[in-house]
Amino acid sequence: MQFYRKNSRAVNKALSILSGLVLWHFLATVIVADTAFLVSPLAVLAKGYEMLFVTGELYPHILASSGIFLYGYLLSIVVGVPLGFLMAFSPAVRDYAHPWMTTLYTTPRIAFAPVLLLWLGIGAGSKVAIVFLGCVFPILINSYYGMRVVNREFVELARSLRLGRLAVFWKILLPASVPFILAGLRLALGRGLTGVAIAEWFGATAGLGYLVYFAGQTLNVPVLFVGVTVFGLMGILGFEILRKIEVLATPWRSSHSG
């Protein structure tokens, strides 16, 4: 009981994962009982072990997908954050950007994929572009709102202390918007991974999206699940990294969810 009280959140998380896996195993072996549709997590684990440590065939896929994801994600930060700030500061930029932003944000990305392939070819360029399209808008929109919703009292404080424009940006607006930007990065994470999967369905020869697609076409259910699982693990890893960054970047917040 003492142990549970101290580590209740970690224990709850572990129990949640464990019961999910048990339920999955039960579903696969007792209810469905057909390996052409669903395999037990143990079979996925075995297949994953084999692909990682026996044949090693999983590595190139992981590397290809991670590369595309990181390029697209980082490009989104480099473009999205400053553009969001610019929109917050300049009504003209806001007016020009707004219709394009709304259109591009709400159009399903999968509809863009063939177009981008046509324009950028089947190399990394088109895939990074698809990831970028997924990630950039949540980052941009959150950066924009982070700047816009800064406490009015802080702006008055800055005026009262006669801070210059640069000081206002660096000392008030930027730190105030950090939690918003981090929230945008979280949203972008899931959308970015979706982008990787979509991108690799079209004309790829490596990558987890390609692996899943190919396994689906050939009814290779264990490999299919290995691919999906690795996508999931990448998401979890990304979230954890962002959480660490959040704790480091905002030590002044009383609690960090996660």
């Binding site: 005026r159 009262s160 202390l161 006669r162 000081a167 000392k171 730190p175 030590p251 002044w252 917040r253």
Partner: protein, 266 residues
Amino acid sequence: MAAAILELRNLSREVKGRSGEPFVIFRDIDLTVRDGEFLSIVGPSGCGKTTMLRVINGLVPPSDGQIFVDGKEQKGADGELVMGFVFQGAALLPWRTSLSNVLLGLEGRGKSAAESRELARKYLDLVGLAGFEQHYPHELSGGMQQRVNLARALAIEPKILLMDEPFAALDAQTRSFMQLELLRIWSQTRKTVIFVTHMISEAILLSDRVVVFSHRPGRIKADFPVPLARPRDMDVKSDRRFIDLENTVWKLIEEEVKAAGGFAKL
């Protein structure tokens, strides 16, 4: 008698109302504050006293009139830093520690980092927060946050301290302690203070002079010297002159409220 440090001439502020008609917040304020004077402004809710403080600090522009500090006209928020503002909500930056919040007004003003830190520490000590330099605002009580707020305004060593209902959000007990603390701090700094409050006893306890505002549009309705010797403590509240002045001011405010249509209209 000390020289005038702040002069308001014919100061007015009006904004556009909902249907475009002018809406006067306060009008034709003429006020002279002497160097080292502690002056309070009281008045019914919504009489424009807080807005006047913000106009004096250049946070919002006046629609008419002039503000002089030491005979020099003040123009908006681009002027030099001669006034410290103590906000009603503490307005502390949550990502900065107490010390760092106090440093905000000192950074980039030609002082060395060591000099600025020393100054910030000195004022945190003065407001009774020695040992809390590295605490973040969320780790401090409401009263302590207001102390940091005060230290930040004092640290820039302004000619005038503007205080906008700084104790309004505190519980009654903390508020009384903070009043006594402010008496102590003021006796050690002798700053010129303009203190806005709606609590008459607070105004009398702290001030050399109490100015009563009328209901909107705010005008100066009365101006009383406080005939109580310093140093003061809570005992002056039972002094006959304290009670008389409190009653006089209360009647004036009651009159204003009735003229404006009663308490329900506040």
